[in-house]
């Protein structure tokens, strides 16, 4: 789809088929996401106490779920890199771990942005030390640490192992941070800010579910396309001798 026709013809079948399939999947999930956003923005009524600002909830929560999912997916692939005897498969799992960490990074930056966009009108402050927001900030920092470590290790065989280790340790650290920030907040500032909409009525939950599904499918499509680009790029560099 996004590939020039001439280039597409010369590709071997094994590579051409997934490229075409995931391009179409990307388009379809993008359309579905647009539809879900349209649904969230215009088709359901305003909230009783927050007015129309609460609509950011749909995009914020769905992006947050994707961020945490891809983060733990990176740790999962990191584990598989360790238990894989075959060199080629270990390299493939390393590509997946790298891609899912990049996805986690992109989505956690989105969580931070939409979180502050939502905090400004409702609580009058750009940033709030809410356990969820703080742990996604720490997640973002660990993602940057992971990518920098990968970027600064030229040796492929060593890079694969330590990236797997860093992704596993970071996934251990996120619950610790969430738990300790939760505890820390209860000591310092008792909950002054209003909790999120607990009394979510039926149609809000339905729209939220649709949004979650749409964003998740979009992230899967993005993951696969990015996974192809990373594996092709690293194979190319390996065969050019950059290791």
């Amino acid at each position: 789809m996004f590939l020039s026709k001439s280039l597409f013809q010369t590709l071997p079948k094994v590579v051409a088929k997934p490229v075409r399939f995931w391009d179409t999947f990307l388009l379809l999930s993008a359309l579905m996401q647009l539809f879900a956003w349209y649904f969230a923005l215009f088709l359901i009524g305003a909230d009783t106490d927050q007015g129309d600002v609460y609509r950011i909830l749909f995009v914020h929560v769905s992006v947050a779920w994707c961020a945490f999912f891809w983060f733990f997916a990176s740790a999962f692939f990191g584990l598989r890199v360790f238990f894989q005897r075959d060199q080629q498969k270990a390299k493939a799992h390393d590509f997946s771990s790298h891609t899912s960490m990049e996805m986690a990074l992109v989505f956690s930056s989105l969580v931070l942005m939409t979180g502050s966009f939502w905090g400004r009108p409702t609580w009058g402050v750009w940033w709030d030390w809410d356990p969820r927001l703080t742990s996604s900030l720490v997640l973002f920092l660990m993602g940057c640490g992971y990518l920098l470590l990968r970027y600064f290790t030229p040796q492929a065989s060593y890079r694969i192992k330590i990236s797997a280790i860093v992704s596993i340790i970071s996934s251990i650290n996120v619950p610790i941070v969430y738990y300790s920030v939760n505890l820390w907040r209860s000591v310092h500032q008792p909950q002054t800010f209003v909790q999120r909409t607990h009394n979510a009525s039926g149609d809000i939950q339905l729209v939220l579910l649709i949004n979650l599904m749409a964003t998740f499918l979009l992230s899967i499509a993005l993951y696969k396309v990015r996974r192809q680009s990373i594996s092709l790029q690293e194979t190319l560099q390996e065969f050019r001798g950059y290791q």
Binding site: V14, F239, G241, Y242, Q243
Partner: protein, 223 residues
């Protein structure tokens, strides 16, 4: 003593050594020769357990029955003399010697060490920091450490680098003394004297194959 099965060393996609297999009996010595960049040092590092080959495995062990991949399990003590002598530069020669020996859980008699130092011409420098030694003298100090630790396997990378005339004779003398104690050697060297001294020779130049220039079908499927 040590045997490798179809070892291959790869720098990125360039295969430097392709399925090399050899085994070394106790007490024998092997010289690795070949042009620069044919993987002598990386092979030595793999045999020392510092690095891992991209394919194949290295087995340590007196008899082939209970071979182990890791030298430690067979408590086989192997000493790796790298191209650059490794010492704490601020500590004196004796302290470094003690450190080497305590790593290998060996003790030594001070007179024997003094005699070795005087033979190597370092008797004045015994208590001065290693920083004041020249490269040749540092090389002799590594040889003295080797002869005092008496490892089962000695891996030496260019042992005669930077040694003058009587330095080389001192090095051969040390090697002969080690050979009497049934120590096996693997030496990477360009010095003909050392290569002639070793019992057999392994030219590494012939094992490198031209680079694979196509992505294997299996890898493409995973892309």
């Amino acid at each position: 003593m040590i045997s490798c099965e179809s070892i291959s060393i790869q720098f990125g996609s360039e295969v430097v050594v392709e399925n090399l297999s050899f085994s070394l009996q106790k007490g024998s010595s092997l010289a690795l020769i070949g042009p620069n960049g044919c993987g002598k040092t990386s092979l030595l590092k793999i045999l020392a357990g510092l690095a891992r080959p991209s394919h194949g495995q290295v087995l340590y062990g007196t008899d082939t029955k209970n071979n182990h991949e890791n030298p430690l399990q067979k408590n086989l003590s192997c000493l790796y003399l790298s191209a650059l002598p490794a010492f704490f530069l601020d500590q004196s020669c004796l302290e470094n010697l003690n450190l080497y020996l305590s790593c290998y859980n060996k003790t030594y008699h001070i007179d024997y060490a003094r005699e070795l130092f005087s033979k190597a011409g370092l008797s004045k420098k015994m208590n001065s920091p290693v920083r004041t030694l020249s490269t040749g003298q540092k090389r002799k100090l590594t040889l003295i450490c080797a002869v005092l630790t008496l490892p089962d396997l000695l891996l030496a990378d260019e042992p005669s680098l930077g040694l003058d005339k009587n330095g080389v004779t001192f090095c051969l003398e040390i090697f002969n003394k080690l050979k009497e104690n049934n120590v096996s050697f693997i030496i990477a060297s360009h010095d003909d004297v050392i290569v002639k001294w070793c019992s057999d020779v392994l030219p590494l130049g012939s094992f490198s194959s031209q680079t694979r220039n196509a992505v294997p079908k299996k890898l493409m499927a995973i892309l």
